[in-house]
Symmetry: C2
Subunit: 217 residues, 2 copies
């Protein structure tokens, strides 16, 4: 009797992520998975991005947090469609959570969907959600050595926003060393030096995002 | 036939953590598990603590990181016994990693063992290591809303160091709101407002640590 050997099967998360992506593509929604440490500025970046792009395209948001709705409330004030996912003790979003959240978003009216993942430089890296681009937000106060200590999150990322550059004057942060360490992990990644407080660098970031978005026509 | 019902069994991690703790107690070593977001200042706090206490007690360090030895090298320069644990893609330290690291530390010559966990506000909370105290480092640039979004890490903690208070002038951070949110989760927790850059608040923190330590006599 021949033993059947099962090979190259997608894991359960990847199967659902693929379905999510098909549905996003069908509705011409470009999806960005935003990952960072806690407090690096994911919500601020989402709000500042939406303020700059909302006249050009329709933006929706999924907010991931263990508990509370404080981020979703901030997004709601900008009159954007938003769904909050509370994971309880879960350390990352996964494709099935996104699949459920999608059902509560008007996909036909959204061009760009920004997903704020749980603040964590490790676990979210292992779970695709159905996104088109993966973006890391690092922040100056975290220090320039983070790529050396948490390389895994940079491996599959398309861009790194280096946030809080307005604090550079008060901190030791070697921008060249940071970028060099990231490029050693992932040479193709794009960098954006940004301050969500002063607005520096946000136009360049929004241009990149606009180029990455295939809007409904 | 009676069905045997197995109840109240410790999980594997807790069994090893208990063994670690027994061994620490036998050697009169006080062990502190230090948890935080990436870049909140765990290594800086360890270095500044060691500089202030090294004439009073013998200090050892275990450094946890996914990759690299940059933190362990900083500790080594202070002439402290140190072991680096590299977890690869692991998002937290566990008791078995500590059990192995302990074998490479001169426990009979150590009064206080500082363990730097992986930078992560979620996963480390679920794994006891055999420690006597659990300490969270939050930092001002992360924002005052972190206890609302990541409550789990504060539940069993004994103290919170609020680091980088020298940056308060440049950021919106409501100290009272932060402390209130933490106390809602854990009313018994102690707070230390600290700057590892200016040295502010470190003496109070070191006094607490000294009181918590049962040194060899």
């Amino acid at each position: 009797m021949k033993i059947e050997v099962v090979k190259n099967i997608l894991d359960a998360n990847a199967v659902i992520a693929q379905k999510n992506k098909s549905l996003f593509d069908q509705h011409h929604v470009t999806v960005i998975n935003i990952m960072s440490s806690p407090g690096a500025g994911k919500t601020s970046a989402i709000l500042e991005t939406a303020r700059r792009l909302k006249d050009k395209m329709k933006i929706g948001v999924i907010e991931g947090d263990l508990a509370s709705q404080v981020d979703a409330e901030k997004v709601k004030k900008e009159h954007l469609p938003v769904v909050q996912i509370n994971t309880g003790s879960g350390c990352h979003l996964d494709a099935n959570m996104i699949s459920h959240a999608m059902q509560n978003l008007p996909l036909k009216d959204i061009d760009l969907l920004l997903i704020e993942n749980i603040g964590n430089l490790v676990c979210p890296s292992a779970y695709i959600l159905g996104e088109h681009k993966r973006v890391i937000i690092s922040s100056v106060p975290e220090g320039d050595d983070k790529p050396l200590k948490y390389p895994i999150i940079f491996v599959d990322a398309d861009a790194v926003i280096i946030n809080k550059v307005d604090l550079k004057a008060y901190l030791k942060f070697d921008m060249d060393a940071f970028k060099k360490a990231v490029k050693n992990i992932n040479p193709k990644i794009s960098f954006f030096e940004v301050s969500c407080t002063t607005g520096a660098g946000l136009d360049e970031w929004c241009s990149w995002l606009t180029a990455a978005s295939k809007r409904k026509s």
